[in-house]
Symmetry: C2
Subunit: 266 residues, 2 copies
């Protein structure tokens, strides 16, 4: 272990004796002058290789429809990533209490419009992944299922009880905000900054939050089975380009064809 | 205000009397049976339109190089998003204390490899944006500067003191993980899952964390000025396709040409 690594671990109060970040059983109390008493969870546990050990928070099954309704309304409070993430955390706060009750959810507003309008990763998917990682013992298959679903299914598919608009669904074939928005503009004939587009994203957030809860519930109940495996087309691309392939010159699970159409030449 | 909106606000304990989430001055203590005493910040303040008000946490200038060094080592503990985000939060925890000391940073591991290997948004950029939003009074110009920098500059540009490998820098022209990795594989001749590629990403995380701290410091000191404005090519595309344009059929600030080369036909 080098000196800097040792220092990092010491700073974090880590090592074999440490307990999990946000672990529900062990907290320590810090009292500082002129500051309120704050009860803080201890920091990360590191494994033998020095990597942070994944320690999900307790999860109890939630009502997918109730979370979807909450997500729809939370979109209008804090945009897409906030809508997806906060709705699940709030659902758990009602059933479990701490540490969900005080979880700092507002920071997830940064993911709005694929990160404050950059239109990179869809905020609903960014928020869903963060929520999954927070609570799932096996986050990768859960995220794979949600992302493959979001690329393949006409969205939105969940219609909130008091939806502002009737929305034309569209298939994005992408996890990216700007691709998803463009596809929907084509399908609906509406503009990218119209109130209908905002409501389309609110309903998409509701749909993704509902799917996320369904996946988390299935994992918690031991009944999870992927309904949306990696598409064969993506597997074919990965066979030449991804890990342990001949070229091994990229990585990822996004649909390839929408941006790399015509390759390989048939 | 409709019934559901009223209900959401009531659930959150919001309204005019509420104070900010994670506000440093006001916290309430919840005591539940069989649970530790947990001191929780109150929930969001909503504005007149029902939207969550942005309330950044206190920021004090950090040493960009010290954060970069920490980010390099944190990459090896928790991957790219964790590396970028946690290093800034830990720097602030040392100088400010709470609420940074107990901030639940480990959840940001979900952003690894563009969200658990999906290779969507670069994890360093996902983590940087989250850190910016947490502390900046004006997060959008800060994120714009960091993202435009990350697309335009050969990265990594910061070499950690005890770097494992000498890394060939490359320009990504993208905010996406898989594009950035592919460009680097081309430039370096190395494979996408080689130890050199991992170290390249660790050094890229260090570079992005350093840039992020420089931007946050400049904002805090009132001297911020964008060195990497939106490229003219992107402005030209937005003039036909983005908000208030003729077509208005997409959105975003990513470089367009790498995926939309040859359009419009010249």
């Amino acid at each position: 272990m080098d000196e800097s690594r040792r220092k990092v671990i010491a700073t974090l109060g880590g090592g074999a004796a440490a307990v999990g970040l946000l672990g529900t059983a062990a907290v320590r109390t810090v009292v500082a002058e002129d500051k309120p008493t704050v009860t803080t969870p201890k920091k990360e546990v590191l494994d033998e290789k020095g990597q942070v050990v994944h320690q999900p928070l307790p999860y109890v099954p939630l009502d997918p429809k109730a979370v979807a309704e909450r997500a729809y309304h939370n979109y209008y409070k804090g945009d897409c990533m906030y809508g997806a993430f906060t709705s699940i955390v709030e659902g758990l706060a009602e059933k479990v209490g701490e540490p969900y009750t005080s979880f700092p959810t507002t920071v997830t507003r940064y993911g709005a419009g694929g990160v404050l309008g950059w239109a990179t990763l869809c905020g609903a998917l960014n928020g869903a992944a963060m929520a999954v990682y927070l609570v799932s013992k096996e986050p990768m298959p859960a995220i794979d299922e949600i992302y493959n679903y979001a690329q393949a299914v006409p969205l939105p598919e969940y219609v909130p009880e008091k939806a502002k608009f009737k929305i034309t669904p569209s298939v994005s074939h992408s996890t990216l905000c700007h691709v998803s928005v463009s596809k929907w503009c084509d399908a609906s004939g509406k503009k990218a900054f119209s109130p209908e587009r905002a409501d389309r994203c609110a309903q998409l957030v509701a749909s993704v939050a509902k799917k996320t809860v369904e996946v988390l519930n299935a994992q918690a109940q031991g009944s999870f089975k992927a309904a949306f495996p990696l598409p064969d087309e993506v597997k074919a691309c990965r066979a030449c380009h991804d890990q342990k392939s001949t070229l091994e010159n990229t990585r990822g699970k996004m649909e390839c064809a929408p941006c790399h159409e015509g390759h390989p030449k048939s």
